[in-house]
Symmetry: C2
Subunit: 99 residues, 2 copies
């Protein structure tokens, strides 16, 4: 079942969000399990709980998401490029249901 992987990021003041988004987008080329990635800067602050940047990825199934989660390119990006510039993170994964 197709999996959606949503990540919301609260970027630290002064951090380079465009650089970070380009790095995340490049994971699609580095890790073949990533089917798609769509990123952007939030524009509805009323109910976003302070998150500034968001992304939605799709994977074929939970196994592919797990391969991505432990892939070196992803682990290194999170450690070196994401966590240092993020004040807060939210990750939400779900199997896309069909009714």
């Amino acid at each position: 079942m197709t999996v959606k992987h949503i990540v919301l990021i609260k970027l630290k003041a002064g951090a380079d969000g465009e650089r970070l988004m380009k790095q995340i987008e490049a994971l699609k080329d580095a890790i073949p399990q990533v089917q798609s990635v769509q990123l952007g800067v939030g524009f509805s602050p009323a109910r976003d709980k302070g998150f500034t940047h968001g992304l939605a990825m799709t994977f074929k199934n939970r196994e592919d998401l797990q391969i991505y989660n432990v892939a070196e390119a992803h682990v290194n990006l999170v450690k070196n490029d994401l966590v240092p510039v993020a004040d807060d993170l939210l990750v939400f994964d779900y199997d896309i249901v069909e009714f």
Copy 2:
């Protein structure tokens, strides 16, 4: 520019999540500006801040999202079917960037 509309819901204990998801999915038929909707139940509790259900919608642009936001079918669903069963809500909207 295509817009992503992400909603995360923390459902009250005992509430009928499947019924709610079916109602939200039906908005796609009721409101033509909704290009797609993908819903599901979260399975990665470590970093989801307690949210239990999520959805990602796409719209052609911000104008279509705004039409959706004020559409009667959507407003009624939020008021009558979503807010009464939700302990918390997060909404994150962004223009999908292309690098």
